[in-house]
């Protein structure tokens, strides 16, 4: 009897255990399935997180630097693979960019926003800002899409921009003729720079001196109808067709220096900001069909003595790179200091500035003078002797020599001559 009872009890326990086991197993499986699903979802999410983290790392790794002088004029009107028309239909510019980052960069758009008088560069009523998109063929407000990719570490990569011919980036703002150029990448980074660059020496202001504005003087009074290019009036060296003006710029744009003995019109030179371009009465207009024997160009550079001792600037030269291999050079004729012109070197006190005036006598490139497109970069080679405190066998201190030798990269020294529809004998 007791055996039967025990047997029955065992059977009942087995059934109960099985049922309980099934229930527990079901619950466990349900929970496990849920866990698997949630884990999968979390994995997917984590994958997205990782991808976006990697993406953001790449974003932060982008680093584009624009190389001085920033924008330059391409040497040819025909751009292989993109088209022709630079200098005639379009104003073309090369933006020289280095990719210092560790990832490749794709440029998606470029904005150009100009300051200055209305209508100059990319300012109202011209499109403001100018929006340049990549194109496969040359077009207004575009950049060459073949240039849009920069490899990691790639240096001096040229990106070619095209604007309508009527939109010229230099503008006649005598103060700070600036264009803000914004480069947008496909990862959403924005790199911008101002152009023209400020004049710098060795990429930065120097301890001994720093240079500021550079201005250009045209010889004579600019009674340009008769302006021969060599001062005075009545000549016939080349032809301007705009109406007679005391100088080819509105009031405030030109700076009159007097007492420049032996130069200009009875010692008077009118210096203009080199960014002076454009139409209306401010333009220096040239009949491009004329042959010219050349004219005289004066350039001054503002030099500041940021040292602690006085020094005497002496003879020097200026050498401008003009249209690639062409050069324009001339000597330092003197300095303009404290309102006076000194053919011989005055003593420049610490903390003061002066104008170092250079003269380029024959200014002929091709068959006419000053055939210079706006924006073409110029390199000024400033001889060691130009501003040292010694001369001849005594060239001065080594510090002075090193400070004052070198290359000044100008962001764009140009004088624009435009063909005129008017007559020009």
């Amino acid at each position: 009897m007791s055996r039967i009872l025990i047997f029955r009890l065992r059977r009942r326990r087995a059934v109960s255990t099985m049922i309980g086991g099934v229930i527990v197993l079901t619950l466990l499986l349900t929970a496990l399935g849920t866990m698997v699903l949630v884990t999968q979802q979390y994995d997917q999410y984590q994958e997205t997180v990782n991808e976006m983290a990697q993406y953001r790392n790449q974003q932060w790794s982008e680093n584009l630097v624009v190389i001085s002088p920033g924008l330059t004029i391409p040497s040819s009107s025909n751009i292989p693979g993109w088209g022709s028309g630079c200098g005639t239909t379009y104003n073309c510019y090369n933006a020289t960019i280095s990719n210092l980052g560790v990832v490749g960069v794709q440029i998606t758009r470029i904005y150009v926003n100009s300051t200055g008088p209305a209508g100059s560069g990319c300012s109202y009523p011209n499109p403001q800002p100018c929006i340049l998109n990549p194109t496969s063929a040359m077009a207004p407000y575009a950049f060459n899409q073949a240039n849009r990719f920069l490899n990691p570490g790639e240096a001096n990569h040229a990106v070619l921009l095209a604007l309508p011919y009527a939109v010229s980036l230099p503008n006649p703002n005598s103060g700070f003729p600036q264009n803000t150029i914004v480069i947008v990448t496909s990862r959403g980074n924005v790199f911008s720079f101002q152009w023209p660059f400020q004049v710098q020496v060795f990429g930065q202001s120097q301890s001994a001196f720093s240079s500021g504005n550079i201005k250009v003087a045209y010889t004579g009074t600019f009674d340009s109808k008769n302006e021969p290019g060599l001062g005075g009036s009545g000549g016939s060296g080349y032809c301007h067709t705009e109406s007679s003006q005391p100088y080819p710029a509105a009031a405030g744009y030109a700076e009159k220096l007097t007492g420049i003995t032996g130069y200009g019109d009875s010692g008077v030179l009118w210096f203009l900001n080199p960014w002076i371009t454009g139409g209306n009465n401010n333009a220096v207009i040239d009949n491009s069909g004329n042959l010219h024997s050349g004219t005289t160009l004066y350039i001054y550079v503002v030099v500041i003595n940021t040292g602690t001792t006085a020094y005497n600037p002496t003879a020097g030269t200026i050498d401008l790179t003009w249209y690639g291999s062409n050069h324009l050079d001339g000597p330092l004729i003197g300095v303009y200091y404290n309102g006076n012109f000194y053919a011989t070197s005055p003593s420049i006190a610490p903390g003061t500035s002066y104008y170092a005036i250079f003269k380029i006598t024959i200014f002929t490139i091709g068959n006419k003078p000053w055939t210079v497109q706006p924006g073409y970069p110029s390199v000024m080679l400033w001889g060691a002797a130009s501003i040292t405190n010694g001369s001849g066998s005594n060239p001065g201190n080594a510090e002075d020599q090193s400070y004052f030798s070198g290359t000044i990269l100008l962001s764009g020294l140009w004088i624009r001559y435009e063909a005129s529809s008017g007559s020009c004998a």
């Binding site: 079901t26 949630v38 997205t48 904005y111 800002p129 914004v182 959403g188």
Partner: protein
């Protein structure tokens, strides 16, 4: 004795059946409850991770902003640099929502408008959209000093803090200074 035993056997079977039924019922309820709960949990996490994932994939920037004096507008360019399309649902300037007639339309290429439930608009990947924002005293963006702001409704040098919000809750900000 035999009867008693017999009664006892019937009672045991019935009791067992009752117990099994109760147990199974409770188990069914428990499993159903667990399934529903876990299902809801799974669905909730699915939606959560999906939304978070999409929000993470969003990435957009205000790449340029400039003032148009002729129309007293502040034009901004928004680019989608993320991995999925986005919808711009709100733009704030100095904490004031710019919407309705204060978002300019027309132009060439046409200006973009905000995405709404009735007019959903999306920016696909790498698309850039220009929004023309009216910034005046009238809509509360420019405050005070109108006499000092000759020629335009904004004061030269004043700051404009622009926030663009997407439908997934992301924001891009930009500070522009009045010219």
């Amino acid at each position: 004795m035999k009867r008693w035993k017999s009664r006892l056997g019937v009672s045991t079977v019935i009791a067992n059946m009752i117990m099994i039924s109760i147990t199974l019922s409770l188990a069914a309820i428990l499993v159903a409850w667990a399934g529903t709960s876990y299902g809801a949990f799974t669905g909730g996490t699915n939606v959560f991770f999906a939304q978070r994932g999409q929000a993470l994939q969003e990435n957009f920037v205000i790449e340029e902003a400039f003032f148009v004096k002729s129309s007293n507008t502040l034009d901004i360019y928004v680019r989608n640099v993320g991995a999925i399309q986005i919808s711009v649902v709100a733009i704030y300037v100095n904490g004031t929502s710019i919407s309705g007639s204060n978002i300019q339309t027309g132009g060439s290429p046409p200006l973009c408008s905000l995405s709404t439930s009735t007019n959903p608009t999306n920016l696909v990947v790498q698309q850039v959209c220009e929004y023309g924002l009216t910034v005046t005293q009238g809509n509360g963006v420019v405050r005070g000093g109108a006499a000092l702001c000759t020629g335009q409704t904004w004061c030269t040098g004043s700051l404009f803090y622009i926030v663009v919000a997407s439908g997934r809750g992301n924001q891009a900000a930009y500070t522009a200074r009045g010219p």
